[in-house]
Amino acid sequence: MATVGKAQSPRTLPPTHLTVKRRTDSEGPQKTVIQALAFYLFAAIVIASAALTITSRNPVHAVLWLILAFFNAAGLMVLVGAEFIAMLLVIVYVGAVAVLFLFVVMMLNIDFAELRAGFARYAAIGAVFAVGLAAEIMLAFGAWSAGKIELARRAAPTPDTISNIQALGMVLYTRYLFVFEGAGLVLLVAMIGAIVLTHRERSGSRKQNISRQNARRPQDATRNTQPTVGAGVEL
């Protein structure tokens, strides 16, 4: 059966399964061909759908192209052996963030033509940002390819002896513990902020109190009366 990444076998299974089999080039050139084909397929779709995200006129279509881009980026990550990151990308971005995007875009009915009207006015500022981002990407790539240690890192994106998740947990919870928890704190603050901003106390709304309803007995809520003809009942 196919094995993506590594599967750690429990002790009880036959020893043939205990050896971790990684997808390597040594398994034959055909496998590499399939990987290469998959890479070009995913990469081409990522680029095409990213381009369509910014060019499509319908905002809902734009979000859907974005989702396709996320999805194929996850595929690329599986190819380089970062399956944990790939799954997180799908769960967090496709499963949660993009759903909310789609939600908002569907509800708001944004008119993109109106947004494009100010294009000429903001073009200069936009260009500055674009150049800045491009420079940052260049710098990142420059740092990536420079130096002996970095080259070694590039050769070993995932360690051979331990699984992806362990490797990540190992550095996240030791070396980068404070940064990691700081990131968590930022998210918590953002969450509380969103709640504070949208929460409002509505007066006059009748909320259901389930325990109170359950505690209510017939004798609390009803009373027997014998009204005379035409007299009615005092409430």
């Binding site: 599967a7 759903v99 070694a152």
Partner: protein, 389 residues
């Protein structure tokens, strides 16, 4: 099967692997379609029996062929696409639902090491793929360009996102206890829980509440009664499916039931021992694991149908309350509780330096670790596994 193609037909490894995987996919997908047809029949029969009716009994012996007759009927119907609909998305939406319902089956283990993709992030894959299911519904609702489907889509999106949070925490407690994201490892970790001869996490008093939460959440996740607000016929006609007809409608039908079977399989796999027999007793292992899994799936499906036939539909605010105010805090608290118990019982042993495994980029060129306290304690992990089983 890869080796079958390599040796029998002399194919090179890559192509043999591709062919074998395609065969495996068909081996899962085709019986699944048959199972969906039969399970729809079972659903109707169980529902009918509980309502003291006969249920389908005309087509074939005991009405067994009813689902196939229904399938043929919708297949012969005309496909109607509303003129105001967004055509592409309208047609893509049921395909998404159907595909997503199928792809999760790739990681479900049918026997020891008999999963199509025995990946080490199996549980995350399940979570990722099941979170995609909502797109089929949202897109259907939006692209229909009709009010009821849209309301239904919004309800569905909110409902699925809400219950996924609780499901995520339940899965984390499972992962904590079994020490792996791999579904086969999770099943193997259920052998003889807590020294008893019973296979299944449900016996563990710490995990049983999570099993209950997962069962209820899986009802909500598949939009089955009592959480079928997305197709509440008294309010929303047929929900997001209102504008669909013919094969696109049938795809929703198939996808929905494939999802239900999947959720039954996940309930069985995560908490009730999966492909393991109910008791850790040697003669029971003679029966193939897939049979045990199948029996467990059917038991869970009976529970699903039972709930559908007996429990009235929730109100929308009650649904949200259950998800956010009860399940979320409960499962979050439970993750803390379980990790606390595990901290006390399993972790804490000092790791000898020779047992530490380091990531390559944190080693100097001569192999010395740059940060000696980093690194996973490999030997300790093995010891824990041995201690547990």
């Amino acid at each position: 099967m890869t080796s079958f193609f390599t040796y029998r037909f002399g194919l090179p490894y890559g192509w043999a692997w591709t062919l074998a995987t395609l065969m495996d996919i068909l081996l899962i997908a085709l019986p699944l379609m048959l199972a969906v047809a039969m399970i729809i029949y079972a659903d109707r029969k169980i529902w009918a029996a509980m309502a003291l009716r006969r249920g389908p009994n005309v087509v074939g012996p005991l009405g067994l062929l009813q689902s196939f007759a229904d399938g043929l009927k919708v297949f012969l119907q005309e496909t109607i696409i509303p003129s105001a609909a967004n055509k592409t998305l309208f047609l893509i939406a049921p395909i998404i639902t159907f595909t997503v319902a199928l792809i999760v089956w790739a990681v479900v283990p049918f026997d020891a090491r008999a999963a199509l993709a025995d990946i080490n992030v199996g549980l995350l894959y399940v979570l990722a793929a099941s979170s995609l299911g909502v797109y089929g519904i949202i897109l259907a609702g939006w692209s229909s360009n009709s009010k009821y489907p849209f309301f239904s889509a919004i309800r569905a999106a909110a409902q699925m996102v809400s219950y996924e949070v609780a499901i995520g925490f339940v899965l984390i407690s499972i992962v904590l206890w079994s020490g792996s994201f791999n579904l086969t490892n999770i099943v193997e970790a259920q052998k003889g829980v807590l020294g008893t001869p019973v296979n299944g996490f449900f016996l563990n008093p710490l995990l049983f509440p999570m099993a209950v939460v997962f069962f209820i959440s899986s009802l909500a996740e598949t939009q089955r009664a009592p959480f079928d607000l997305t197709e509440a016929e008294s309010e929303l006609v047929a929900g997001y499916q209102t504008e669909y007809s013919s094969m696109s409608f049938a795809l929703y039908w198939l996808g929905e039931y494939a999802n239900v079977i999947l959720m039954c399989a996940l309930n069985a796999t995560l908490f009730w021992g999966g492909y393991l027999p109910p008791f850790d007793w040697a003669p029971l292992y003679v029966v193939p694991g897939i049979i045990w899994l199948f029996i467990k799936i059917l038991v869970f499906f009976f529970l699903f149908s039972w709930v559908k036939a007996t429990v009235p539909r929730y109100r929308y605010d009650q649904l949200m309350r259950l998800g956010w105010k009860i399940f979320l805090p409960l499962s979050l608290f439970w993750v803390f509780l379980i990790s606390g118990v595990l901290m006390m019982t399993r972790v804490g042993t000092e790791c000898a330096p020779e047992n530490r495994v380091y990531t390559k980029q944190y080693l100097y060129d001569d192999g010395r670790p740059r940060y000696p306290t980093d690194g996973v304690c490999q030997a300790a992990r093995v010891n824990q596994l041995e201690k547990r089983s």
